[in-house]
Symmetry: C2
Subunit: 295 residues, 2 copies
């Protein structure tokens, strides 16, 4: 199976799993559920759950063991997108080429749909803890702790991003922000996959190093696309970051240097995978995919 096919299969699989947790019952909160479904099934890249499953698969075949965790991670990611798009934060109207949640529904519904998604992710985590699986209970609890810590970091990153809009930001500071905002969930996704698949401590560390690099690469590429991408392809307004005075790699380093930094970070990510040999083939391809993506 080639990389593109494998990636597609993962995406289909994750969308199918996400669908299971969408509540379509007739109930007074039906529209809240529709709003959750709207964002959750809007067709993102599913990068975080894919990373979790692919990392798990480096060590064990039975990836269905961690489906619930992959879904929980994607829920958290979608919670963060809904809240980031709110008028009080980024005030974005378009996401994945569709109206953002608060535009499609309303602001109150979007706030509460985000809250519900974050909380439902934990409901899933608690069900996973109850469930009989390969992993022992202490590994599961370790995964829960990592999950929770990474979300704290993500929220901090989002706060810094918001707070420093329109202000000068140093490259060092920018990295701190991105490490939190995008990097934390990506790193946790990879490491949770590794922990539950019984990877060694050294392997978990190396994969964490890899994840930090692709997290950063992903964000640099995002900044580049926000400047140079096409709205028909990215589904997001182009030049928005700049107009708003957002702290981005482009603002700190310019387009050319940002591209050079991206190349270095991608090289570092690939290096962190070296010890894993053929097992890491998919993650290597994914790294190059992140570098070359157009949306």
């Amino acid at each position: 199976m080639d990389f593109k096919e494998e990636l597609k299969n993962y995406q289909i699989l994750i969308d199918k799993e996400l669908n299971k947790y969408v509540n379509k019952e007739e109930c007074p909160e039906k529209i809240l559920n529709e709003s959750i479904e709207y964002s959750l099934l809007a067709g993102g890249k599913r990068l975080r759950p894919i990373l979790m499953l692919a990392t798990y698969k480096m060590f064990k075949e039975n990836i269905e063991e961690v489906f619930m965790l992959a879904v929980a991670m994607e829920m958290v990611h979608n919670f963060s997108l809904i809240h980031d798009d709110l008028p009080g934060i980024d005030n974005d109207n378009l996401r994945h080429g569709k109206p953002t949640n608060h535009i499609k529904f309303n602001e109150a519904t979007a706030i509460l749909a985000g809250d519900a998604l974050l909380n439902k992710a934990y409901t899933l985590m608690s069900e996973y803890l109850k469930k009989e699986t390969d992993a022992n209970i202490f590994k599961k609890i370790e995964a829960l702790g990592l999950f929770s810590e990474s979300i704290n970091k993500m929220i901090i990153g989002e706060y810094i991003d918001t707070e420093y809009e329109g202000k000068m930001i140093t490259g060092e500071y920018l990295e701190y922000m991105y490490k939190h905002k995008t990097g934390a969930l990506i790193k946790a996704s990879v490491q949770i996959g590794a922990i539950l698949a019984d990877a060694s401590e050294q392997e978990i560390e190396n994969l964490g190093e890899f994840a930090e690099k692709i997290g950063l690469a992903f964000q640099i590429k995002d900044d580049i696309l926000s400047e140079t991408g096409k709205v028909e392809v990215t589904g997001k307004p182009v030049g928005n970051d700049k107009a708003r005075g957002k702290s981005t790699f482009i603002a700190a380093y310019g387009l050319k240097e940002s591209q050079e930094i991206l190349d270095i970070v991608i090289k570092d990510a690939l290096e962190a995978l070296e010890g894993f040999g053929k097992k890491a083939e998919f993650l290597k391809e994914l790294t190059l995919f992140i570098e070359n993506r157009e949306k």
Copy 2:
């Protein structure tokens, strides 16, 4: 020790515990932390953690065992207050007699402080799972599941409250809303205390019944105070609910009948405690306190 003294002691104890989880470090997210602290230490009634500790104490003396859970519950309550007050939801300027979080800081900070509080509550839950305590791990996981389910319900209740503003609402529907919005966390607080103190299934059920009733009583009383209270005492604007066309007991039944319903619900709550004898003394007093409070 008389009831008022015991209540005060609980409040002091909880405030002290909450203080431990406030981050005062110098870091880029310092203001976010200040915003969290601002709301968390604004001096609420601490009803939910008090209920958890007092219920636990009916069966076991060592209440310090569940301090982390009591703190987590109060964090969740405060998350819900910050988000409810947002311009996109209730648009309230005053809470506990002080400017609401988004007025004191700004909207983005308030959204993210709420998110952070919800998530930090789970970080505490995960630390509690790791910690060595009296309770076995499966009871702890049961408590986590109950915690998470109750928050889902609370968010649904808040959604319904928002969605039905200005619309006619039946008494039945109003009860559904309150059972979710206020009742869920109160019931979970009581039942988590009971579960972790090794109460029997029957006891857990009876206490759940009690909690449902005081949850409802609490909310009816809130509606009455919102109509008849004094702003200097309640710390909240009076007549706000009415002006906004909120779905309240007053709107559905009028003041006199609401007072009668409150009396019945209080009687039911006390009845649910009957089998516990002297052990339930504090909870009985607390029930009367809820009925007669002026803020």
